[in-house]
Symmetry: C2
Subunit: 341 residues, 2 copies
DNA sequence: TCTCGCATTGCAATCGATTGCAACAAGCCT
DNA sequence: AGGCTTGTTGCAATCGATTGCAATGCGAGA
């Protein structure tokens, strides 16, 4: 329970050191430490004890060079259209948490990259670095083509995002258009006639959500929704939304936000402007982040099952690493009605 | 702008492949690709062009084995006393975002580990893996001893957390006791007489914050603050806090939360119970996470300058990697008065 | 007693890039 | 003309672990 290891005379940094100490060859030590059945059980015990006593740990660099497996998965956040967006964005962090959990449970390490794709070959550099057994992309940003190009030749790659017909790369995500429609239908059912959609349309996911909103208004014979750009960097979002609302609030009576973060900021701004939610303006979010439970009022939102999505991404990635094929997954979104609409 | 690379006849995966193609030796190719002045400029050009044409990228595993540098920093979240706490905890994610930004700007990759320290040598395994040039710990959890033990022999290690006198490992953090005192003094100045501190005391940081609160009440001649345990896993936090408040709300008139997450949940629970903040009960948080700006009412809190702290951690780590010594940094906390108290 | 098989172990090649040192050529000086 | 510097390049060792193959020793069966 307290200090136990006998003071190690010499550091014993390599297999060869340990082999000398044990009076055997390096090969035998290697086999002993991997519990190979090719070594005598007694020898194995002895070597393992010696290794423990000397705090020996194999050099992963060498092991990985030799075995051509790294045990590392890259988790990459491409910030193409929104350079100022921070890695600490709650959606990224939520899905990253789930991915990291799933990967570490399976014995993989996680290498995190926040990438601003200014070089054309940003993704090539990652997948060809020789450091990774596979790559998970959190979001497609505006890099659809780059992802397609790499996916054509690099199998162990799975992205969170939207799935276009005929697309090469494997994605996990929700039916964004359906989700947008659900949000809008809910607002319409509550009597909203003129919806504002907060969020810009460069990333495919948001574009589809907006299309869903539009489809719903069209089906209900209502006027076109008002689309308002919103940067994702939190520093600027609040002012931007405030400006939008000051200008347009008179002409709208309900808000569909492109994400929960946008919705939360909107709640905040509306409170500042003395508007009540949902009384004066109902607000619907998108994502169902845990944070939505903490807002006042609690956020009505379109749920993406992020935990399930993360598990699915990891499963598909492992299948692809194993050489099998894995299709994309499009999950149905689900409206979660709480207090904001 | 479109596809440019001439179709690569043979993959050219290794330096040797490329050397054969170029009619030179592997050593020359290596030097050419690292812009060494030891090769003829023309040769260098030629080889670099060839490398680009064949999409050649050096094998990082081999390079790192040979150079004994990995270019990877481990960012580790030890979850000792709170196994159910999720990696997506906003504090972790906020600081992780800043760390990742600072590290990638300096050309390092980030390896993320969420560790449940059930094995005694969890940290040894990480630092001795041969995969990392240095390690950053986000929080000390209840693993103070394990960290000290490793820090005695492993230099490039910096932790976020509290700094005890005489401690070996390098930390960056705030004066938690002062912070607790600031929060309590603010509450007292607003007329609060009986403070509840929400948060458990196993991690040194929270313990110090509580001590600060106690010092303030003592100095003001007020009764001892009421300390209430709160798990950090968000699934349970809300119910737990609700239960605490139902039982104790009659006996207290102000709340100092151990963290902003706890404070946010408390706001939520109080709203549910029909209490107004700060009218009925003022609430002070701790951390000053960006999220505190989004709550209703906006959170009054004790600010830790997380961005500065992250930069300081990275600076100190680099200094230690370079063999210099770097002292711990204890930053002064700052009360940020907004609307919740 | 001889041979064969089995259980262990050692040997040496291998993964792919880096780098100190030697080799070589061309040009310059005395 | 010989020696020397300067500029390039190749050679081969090295980083540390893994693994196919050969070698060893033992006991059992014929």
């Amino acid at each position: 329970m307290s200090n136990d290891a006998p003071p190690s005379d010499r550091p014993a940094r390599t297999l060869a050191d340990l082999a000398r100490l044990a009076g055997v060859s390096a090969g035998t030590v290697s086999r002993a430490l991997t519990n190979s059945s090719l070594v005598n059980p007694e020898t194995r015990q002895r070597i393992q004890a010696l290794a423990a006593a000397h705090d020996f740990r194999v050099n992963q660099m060498a092991r990985r060079l030799r075995t051509q497996k790294t045990g590392v998965i890259g988790v990459v956040v491409p910030l193409g259209h929104e350079r100022r967006q921070h890695l600490s964005d709650p959606f990224f962090m939520t899905i990253l948490g789930h991915l990291a959990d799933a990967l570490t449970e399976n014995g993989y390490d996680v290498m995190l990259s926040r990438i601003i794709p200014d070089a054309e070959d940003w993704l090539e550099r990652i997948v060809d670095s020789g450091m990774l057994d596979g790559v998970l992309l959190i979001g497609q940003s505006d890099q659809f083509e780059a992802i397609e190009r790499v996916a054509r030749r690099y199998r162990p790659l799975v992205a969170w995002g939207s799935c276009q017909p005929g697309q090469v790369h494997c994605t996990v995500g929700t039916e964004n258009m359906t989700g947008g429609r659900l949000a809008a239908e809910h607002l319409i059912a509550r009597g909203v006639r003129r919806i504002a959609f907060l969020g810009e349309l460069r990333a495919p996911e948001l574009r589809e959500r907006f299309e869903g909103v539009r489809a719903a208004t069209e089906a209900a014979g209502l006027p076109e929704p008002l689309q308002l750009d919103t940067h994702l960097a939190s520093e600027m979002m609040e002012q931007e939304i405030a400006a939008h609302l000051v200008r347009h609030l008179a002409r709208i009576d309900g808000i569909a936000a492109g994400s929960d973060m946008i919705a939360m900021t909107t709640l905040r701004v509306l409170a500042d402007q003395g508007m009540t939610v949902p009384g004066d303006v109902p607000v619907v979010g998108y994502d169902d982040l845990p944070l939505g439970l903490q807002t006042v009022p609690r956020l009505t939102t379109v749920r993406q099952d992020i935990a399930r999505g993360a598990r699915a991404m990891v499963e598909r990635l492992f299948a692809r690493i194993a050489g099998q094929d894995a299709p994309s997954l499009v999950m149905p979104p689900e409206l979660v009605v709480r207090d904001s609409a």
